[in-house]
Amino acid sequence: MTTSEQAPGGTRPTGGGSDDARAEEAAAWARMDQPSGRWMLPGACPDARERTLVLEAAARLLFPVVLVFSVFLLLEGHYGPGGGFSGGLVAGLAFVLRHIAGGDDNLGSRFRIRPPVVVGTGLIIAVLTALAPAVFGEPVLSSVKWTITFGPFGHLDVVSSLLLDVGVYLLIIGVVLDLLRSLGSGIARDAREAGEDVAGPGGAR
């Protein structure tokens, strides 16, 4: 989106010299939570009429948080509700949110993600994790547990089957992205080319 590339409001230098310092401070303050990683930005929206500012702002704020939460779910899965499937779905929903807020088929415009590659990587990780024990002479799909002790902070169990979960996680994200690509932007572009009036990805008819 275009606004994110301009300086946020209030940064235009004003005429008064004594105001400069205050303006600088205000600018620094305004930039404080400006997204530094471009990959966090929602994609550009080709048609300004389809934008909803509240949703865009919310998406920008929520997207990284939800992604972190999804990783938490992935790791938490071994102790409580969660796991690769749920984590992947949550991460996928983060992308859905970004898609609805920002954009048509520019889902990957900032940071190009090819859904088939993500799906394939997930499956490869899962299958390799499944086969790896065979190299060490163990039956396929068996898992190993390592315990790391952190002195007074307790200990952490790391299980090799976590990798299988990581594979599931990536695969689910890829499936959701693929869904967005085909049903989301694919259908919208299709309709636009057919000359039909179709609401933006977020709007209902």
């Binding site: 979960d165 869904l179 209902a204």
Partner: protein
Amino acid sequence: MLAVVAAHLVLALCLPALARYHRRVAFGAGAALLAGTLVWAAVQAPVALGPGLSDHLAWAPELGLSLSLRMDGLALAMIVLVSGVGALIMIYAAWYFGPRSTDAARSAALLVAFAGMMLGLVLADDLLTLYVFWELTSLTSFLLVGQGGQYRENRRAAVQALVVTVFGGLAMLLGIVLLGQLAGTYSIPELTAAATAGTLAPDRPVALGVALVLILLGALTKSAQLPFHPWLPYAMAAPTPISAYLHAASMVKAGVVLVARLGPAFAAQPVWWVPVMVLGLATMVVGGWRAMRQTDLKRLLAFGTVSQLGFLMVLFGAGTRVAALAGIAMLLAHGLFKAPLFMVVGAIDKACGTRDLRELCGLGRRRRGLAVVATLAGLSMAGLPPMLGFVGKEAAFEAFVLEGGVRGWVTATGLVAGSLLTVAYTARFLWGAFSTKGLHPTGGDPVPLGLSGPAWLCALTGIAAGIAAPLVQEIAASYAAPLPPAGDAYAARYELALWHEPGLPLLFTAVALAGGLALHHWGRALTGHAPVGHLSAQRGYEAVVTGLERTAITVTGRLQIGSLPVYLGCILATLIALPGPVLALTGTVPTDQLPYHSIMQVPVGLMVVVAAIALCLAHRRFTAVLLVGAVGYGIGGLFVIDGAPDLALAQFLVETLTLVAFVFVLRRLPAHFDEPDTERRVRAPKAAVAAVGGVLVAGTAVVLSGARTLPPATTGPFIAGAPEAGATNLISAILVDFRALDTVGEITVLLICAAGTASLVLATRYDKRKGGTVVSSGSGSPQHEEEVLG
């Protein structure tokens, strides 16, 4: 042994990168590995020929699945071909593929991978291990024949080879499973022991017969036996090194190897030897006859290979000691003479730009070296001394003369006829390639040593092996030892040698030689360029394939009519018709069902019911979608109440995603459900089917939940095992450890669904954009392919 097989695959993975750096280095690395394998096998030979050398890797011990390999005499003979001849062909390929060839890198990697698969196949000591490698060789062969897929001819040939061999392979899998269930083991030595002791399913001869016939189907298709042979000549569309390796030295011998492997166990059964020997003899004669009528030198050799494979089938199918000795000798001889002949054809093709014998002229004088090496190999093919081919053919004649009886004499006569044709097409090959026919002389470019050298080495090995026949005898005897010597005492002590007492076999050789030369000399009018008759196996194949396609189109056209209500109706009707009556007749409704376990279930359950009823009354699609969501969330709520947070979490997330997907699709659908008059008439039947289906599913759930007879699996020891699997959360332990195979399977299904959705949605876009022109599947534009691939 497993490490050697794995080394091939690892190197194959590295080769594309290496080939980008230097093409010949890549082929050289492959040749080095193959040569190393041969040396390794030679070092192990004393053990292999004695007690045998085994290697074993448990795969899934609970299911009795394992990778087990064993090196014995038969495997050793095949390793000579797979690794020894393979190494020479890799060197040949380094010079065959041009410096700018785009096929070189892929071919190098695939050839090495293929060598690994083939090694696994010949070493396999377990029918399932054998099957896995068997299909892998079919797949690599498909890729190697198809090449880059630019040429229609290559694609067709590759598809035909794949369809025929995989059809056989699947039949074989059925046979293997049947045999394994009958015998209770998949291990080949155990099967052989049981079969020779007569304890292999003595009370179920029919099932055993069916299993054997199915297994034979795999062997016959893979080794291009009548009537499945046409794929092999068509596969000559592949580059020559690939034809020389796959379609002469190694892959096509897989069927022969299978017959040889199981021969000691089943050769006494008529259901085994009758098809093998009858089809083998017929293939030998028909292949030789067809070879006589080819004008393309490579196709001539291909039909020659078909003929020789028939010969090998006869020898290994007979199941007698001398025939087995002859079989091993011919197996080696065929690889050692057919590979150099292919290499010579490739060199001629490179030097002259043609391999049509009507156009070649005067090559014998201009390229004397090629002519000599081809003659040396040809002499072995025709079965003349002092070549290994002669040793093998003598032994073959001797085997059936010694055996006597109807079978022995009929087979011997057939073999003489086949050998006669072999001599004739050998003469035709040498005449066609090298004679001066009074045309414009061809053949300008000199042949590099990289192309002629491997052919020389191969052909000279053929002579050396003929002279060193006792060495071959060592290998062959190790295989033939357990087989019964049919005939007199001489049959029990017969040994492969260059010279035996003159007798009937030598007379047969003389008859074949004289007849073959005469047929070549005078019979050209007879065998000339006559069109193929109506009874053609290729036509049969084409008829079957087009018939299948037509049936598929008809059936699809009838079933896939594009109406969602009809699809759902079919599914529900099947559900009602099949499990419905069973459930109604045999199901017992459990008596201990409570109305509810927790009071919270009542409001949530009511909400689900209300939402479902409202769903039926909805007029707008958007309302309907929201109500579907409400039902889903309600069920998630029931999961929470029942204490299944994992399930509930997944249910909520999936429900949300479904809702989003629905909303996306809704943009392209009308806002209201429209109801034409025709729809109104079928409303009552639709409602009835839906209601019965719903009641049936609900009833099934209730009945099945009460049908438990064993204690649930999730008890004491199972739950105690969960922390051991690294997860204190039992659900996760089940998903990633106890039932991890299911998880892998499920995510694979998801992958297929995602790929399918993307292809369907994006494919229709481009098909539409082309303005209504008919676009068959798989012929998308480059943009479309790019889109689908992301």
